[in-house]
């Protein structure tokens, strides 16, 4: 299992800033959401993609996936996936039917591709994705608690097709979601020997400032009581997006 950070955690960050934060926290991989500030998007030239690939190699960070919520042109996706040595993940912003159509098109273009599933129907969607011959990335969100139970069903439905788990609301947000089963979820994945990508992502855009603040500093948030939790101090001092909007 390798742990990645989604660029969704810091959507305004450049690729260089993301890589600096990943190195600071010892994270091995990054998920690049196409719509974020790292400039890997449909307007990116081949030179831009090669420069990004070079920066990633220098930082020893792999690209876990290129997450596409918007249906980017196949030509761009193919260039980016090849240049960054990664896979396309078709995001869950559209219906499962449309996701499978996009995944079929990507496969026809010889692209490694996976389909994002989530919500309370994650296991049934995962079963359909696997039946269509595609790989599965599961989005585990605290709103879908208890996550460990959903995890068991998703693992059973996906089997070897499960290549990634997006854990929304962990890390610096974690203490806000105590009791939702993130710990039990992680235990399930460990015991099952899950060896795909574990992708840290915010559960809501209102937490961006919390994540961006965490990305810029060293260290973790300890264990035990909230009083010793640096994320708690950050929350007290850094306003959320909704508070300054």
């Amino acid at each position: 299992m390798r742990t990645a950070l989604s660029s969704a955690a810091a959507p305004r960050a450049s690729l260089d800033d993301l890589l600096a934060g990943l190195t600071r926290h010892g994270l091995e991989a990054v998920e690049l959401r196409v719509s974020d500030g790292h400039a890997i998007n449909a307007a990116a030239s081949l030179d831009t993609l090669h420069a990004a690939a070079h920066a990633l190699r220098e930082a020893r960070v792999r690209v876990a996936s290129l997450l596409d919520d918007d249906g980017v042109p196949t030509e761009f996706a193919l260039r980016a996936v090849r240049a960054l040595d990664t896979q396309l993940v078709v995001g869950a912003a559209v219906s499962l039917y449309e996701r499978l159509q996009r995944a079929d098109a990507a496969r026809a273009a010889t692209m490694p591709v996976a389909v994002l599933v989530g919500g309370r129907q994650a296991d049934t969607d995962a079963r359909a994705v696997r039946a269509a011959g595609h790989r599965v990335v599961w989005e585990a969100h605290p709103d879908d608690a208890p996550l460990a139970e959903v995890c068991d069903r998703v693992i059973a439905a996906s089997a070897d097709a499960l290549v990634g788990v997006r854990v929304c609301g962990g890390g610096p947000e974690g203490s806000l979601h105590e009791g939702r089963g993130i710990g039990a979820l992680m235990a399930r994945l460990a015991v099952a020997g899950f060896d795909g990508a574990l992708i840290l992502a915010p559960s809501d855009r209102k937490y961006h400032l919390l994540w961006e603040s965490w990305l810029r500093r060293h260290g973790g948030w300890g264990c035990g009581g909230g009083a010793a939790d640096p994320a708690e101090r950050v929350r007290r001092t850094v306003p959320m997006v909704e508070e300054i909007a």
């Binding site: 460990a190 264990c223 909230g226």
Partner: protein, 78 residues
């Protein structure tokens, strides 16, 4: 799904970290192990293991900072 088993506790809410680690340890068969991944030296955890599972576990540092600590925790053979 295959080896290696890794438990990344950086993801887990602070108060759930130690219970999750002991839950994972409890699920191991004798002789099995998992790799704990943390953002600080988990020495207090080792003290807790020594208090509650003396003689039943192995503890081997695989990486010691500065950003990441990896410890292989094994369950002693029966």
């Amino acid at each position: 799904m295959s080896e290696p088993r890794t438990l990344d506790v950086r993801v887990i809410p602070p108060r759930e970290k130690h219970p999750t680690i002991f839950q994972t340890f409890g699920a191991l068969a004798p002789g099995e192990s998992f790799v704990l991944l943390n953002d600080h030296d988990p020495r207090p955890l080792r003290y807790q293991f020594e208090a509650e599972h003396a003689g039943q576990f192995g503890w081997q540092y695989l990486e010691q900072g500065p950003a990441v600590w990896r410890v292989e925790i094994s369950k002693a053979s029966a």
